[in-house]
């Protein structure tokens, strides 16, 4: 069976994006788009295939699936969903999962368990779906480190202990799980939003764009769930306080620190984050949706920005770290901006 690279005509799948993006961006009349910062990645002299774009997404789905499956069941993806597909001729090799303190989330009610089950199934299915779509071109799972939640929480200022007592553990309760999920979901939404325009005209015809947009929507359903839950539980806690919502906002602040101003043409328009609020009356707005405050159009992130977040590093030229201790199995693995 031929690989996707071979099947998709390279001439068709190469983007003319780099040449055309500047002019189009300058002429667009759409309000509010300037702060979505969807600059395309200048990777490999601008030459990359639809398979590269989908494989980038697959790396993120591996991470999400392992997190949610552990949270739901205490076990991760089946090996048949992490290995290189039969016939794979690419350069990437299958990594290992560092479990850390990952386990079935403690103390879940039936309703909470059912929520975690649903998201676990959905992210697992995204892995399977992308692997099927990519066929023999699907990259295997890279090294993934689920113990990175501890250092990440320290970097965000949520706690001072990276490990052991007092450290952040998203598997210790449903509230902590929500904060852990919060780290991923908005990134998933913005990553697909940023990746959708990278798909070639041929890829659009082949259904890749519709698939990417459909997964984008599912990630946004998940993000809506997580943000609604944090907001609703904070409202319910009232004056007793709910520290998990401020913790989520600290995660947002960290993500902004990791991404703003790192592109070749640094953005001065601020981060692509929407801070959660706790409404105090029925007439004041919540902040469930993460979107541009001017246009209410959802944010997007470049592949570089996504890598800065999952590596936990703002540095240009970094190829690994954080949740991906050996880097993503992607041609975009090294941050270039």
């Amino acid at each position: 069976m031929k690989t996707l690279d071979q099947l998709v005509d390279k001439a068709l799948s190469r983007r003319t994006f780099l040449a055309g993006a500047g002019a189009v961006a300058a002429s667009t009349v759409v309000a509010g788009c300037s702060d979505t910062n969807s600059t395309p990645p200048p990777a490999n002299n601008g030459l990359y295939t639809d398979a590269d774009v989908l494989n980038f997404a697959l790396n993120l789905e591996y991470l999400e699936a392992q997190f949610y499956l552990y949270a739901a069941t205490g076990a991760g993806l089946a090996s048949s969903d992490t290995s290189a597909p039969s016939g794979y001729t690419g350069k990437f090799t299958e990594g290992t999962l560092t479990v850390g303190s990952a386990a079935q989330v403690a103390g879940l009610t039936t309703a909470e368990q059912e929520i975690v089950n649903e998201i676990a199934y959905e992210e697992m299915t995204h892995v399977k779906f992308l692997r099927t779509a990519l066929g023999t071109a699907a990259v295997p799972m890279p090294d993934i480190d689920l113990s990175f939640f501890g250092p990440l929480a320290v970097a965000a200022g949520i706690t001072t202990a990276a490990t052991g007592a007092g450290s952040f553990n998203p598997f210790s309760s449903f509230d902590y799980f929500l904060v852990g999920a919060f780290i991923f979901e908005a990134v998933g939404v913005t990553a697909y939003s940023g990746a959708a325009p990278l798909i070639s005209a041929a890829g659009v015809t082949a259904g890749f764009l519709t698939a990417a947009a459909g997964i984008l929507a599912v990630e946004a359903y998940h993000a809506g769930y997580v943000r609604t839950s944090l907001t609703g539980r904070a409202i319910a806690a009232g004056s007793a306080g709910y520290p998990y919502l401020p913790a989520a906002n600290l995660v947002e602040a960290l993500r902004a620190t990791l991404t703003v101003g790192n592109s070749a043409a640094p953005s001065t328009t601020g981060s692509v984050e929407t801070t959660l609020v706790v409404p105090t009356s029925t007439s004041t707005p919540s902040a469930i949706v993460a979107a541009s405050p001017t246009s209410a159009v959802g944010f997007s992130r470049t592949v570089n920005q996504v890598h800065h977040i999952v590596y936990g590093s703002p540095t240009v030229g970094v190829a690994k770290g954080g949740f991906f201790p050996s880097g993503t199995n992607s041609i975009f693995a090294t941050t270039t901006a």
Binding site: K2, Y221, H222, G232, P285
Partner: protein
């Protein structure tokens, strides 16, 4: 009967990329569109402006619903409550170069009893209003005016008729403005439809770096809203004992029926992963994980086999928002009228089918 998408895609494939599709069919079985099964010709090839104007009609509908529920006013005439929440003082324009601005019938401020639901309504109202403004700005001089919109509950109102058709009530007494839970059911009617409409539009847009990112961004926001509505209903009625879960199942079933009816026997536009039914309520489902079968919620409205959200053609969306008005005697009619759009959508020269 081909949808607009399939016709456009067929044209593209035939003209330039037949080779790609045929080569890709083997290993891309999960993704490749089964375009060869369709032969009927659609009359209209939509431009990006047409597609954004279609979306603008839907945003007029949604924005007015949330403005009425949250503030008790329409988008063009903001009251103090709306302005306090961030609505533009000058109001949101409802006129355009195409079509005559229609009026909004029915709707009233919901007497919210919980902060969660009230604050959600306020946030969503402001965001949907911004979507109207964003699309108007993107379209400029070719933006359509607001069509006539019916948002009334009770007998003869759009929501009353829909609730009866869905089997939520035996009569037309339902109003989404009565209380928090009723409002959420009303919101439920819209949000998943918005997701499928923007999703269906995404692959039609030719402006890869202009219109597509906007559509993708709004798609995400609609899915956030849908997730919010479904999550809140799940929190209010976690076991289904209050009946809200059953209502969502009925609404989804009605939408799936109307959507399927609009296919007129053809396979969906993105048939590889848009199976029928294309809509699911909140009733729990059984999922197979590596460790075995589990029961899970259905916060996400997506095809369970691949967990890619559903996409709908304009005809499918029209048939839903008009309560079956897009199909008469086994054929597509234009303009589609009924339920929320008693006089149909405001469209350019191509019309909407």
């Amino acid at each position: 009967m081909a949808t607009q998408e399939t016709q456009l895609l067929d044209d593209i494939i035939v003209s330039s990329r037949r080779r790609l599709l045929s080569l890709g069919a083997a290993s891309l079985a999960g993704l490749v569109l089964a375009s060869s099964t369709r032969s009927a010709k659609a009359a209209v090839a939509y431009t990006d402006d047409d597609i954004l104007n279609f979306a603008l009609n839907l945003e007029y509908l949604e924005a007015n619903f949330y403005y009425l529920a949250a503030f008790g006013c329409t988008i063009d005439k903001p009251n103090a409550a709306a302005m306090n929440a961030g609505a533009p003082a000058a109001g949101i324009p409802i006129t355009g170069s195409v079509g005559t601005a229609g009026t909004v019938t029915g709707g009233s401020q919901v007497p919210f009893s919980t902060i969660q639901v009230g604050s959600y309504a306020v946030e969503t109202a402001i965001e949907e209003g911004k979507h109207v403004l964003t699309l108007q700005a993107a379209l400029g001089s070719v933006a359509v005016a607001q069509p006539a919109i019916n948002l009334a509950g009770g007998t003869g109102g759009s929501f009353g008729e829909l609730a009866q058709a869905a089997g939520i009530t035996s009569d037309q007494s339902f109003s989404p403005y009565a209380a928090d839970a009723d409002f959420l059911i009303g919101a439920y009617v819209f949000e998943d439809v918005g997701v499928t409409a923007y999703h269906g539009a995404a692959s039609l847009l030719t402006g890869t770096t202009t219109t597509l990112p906007v559509a993708a961004g709004i798609l995400g926001v609609e899915a956030y809203h849908a997730g919010l509505v479904r999550t809140t209903l799940n929190y209010l009625d976690p076991t289904g004992s209050l009946g809200l879960v059953g209502y969502t199942t009925k609404v989804s079933a009605l939408r799936a029926t109307l959507s399927n009816q609009a296919l007129l026997g053809a396979t969906p536009a993105a048939s590889a992963y848009d199976n029928q039914p294309d809509d699911y309520g909140l009733a729990p489902a059984t999922f197979t994980l590596p460790t075995g079968s589990v029961t899970g919620t259905r916060i996400v409205d997506a095809d369970p086999t691949d967990v890619v959200a559903f996409a709908r053609s304009t005809t499918q969306v029209l048939n839903i928002v008009t309560g079956g008005g897009a199909i008469k005697n086994g054929a597509v009619v234009s303009p589609a009228t009924g339920i929320f759009f008693p006089a149909g959508l405001n469209a350019g020269a191509n019309g909407f089918k």
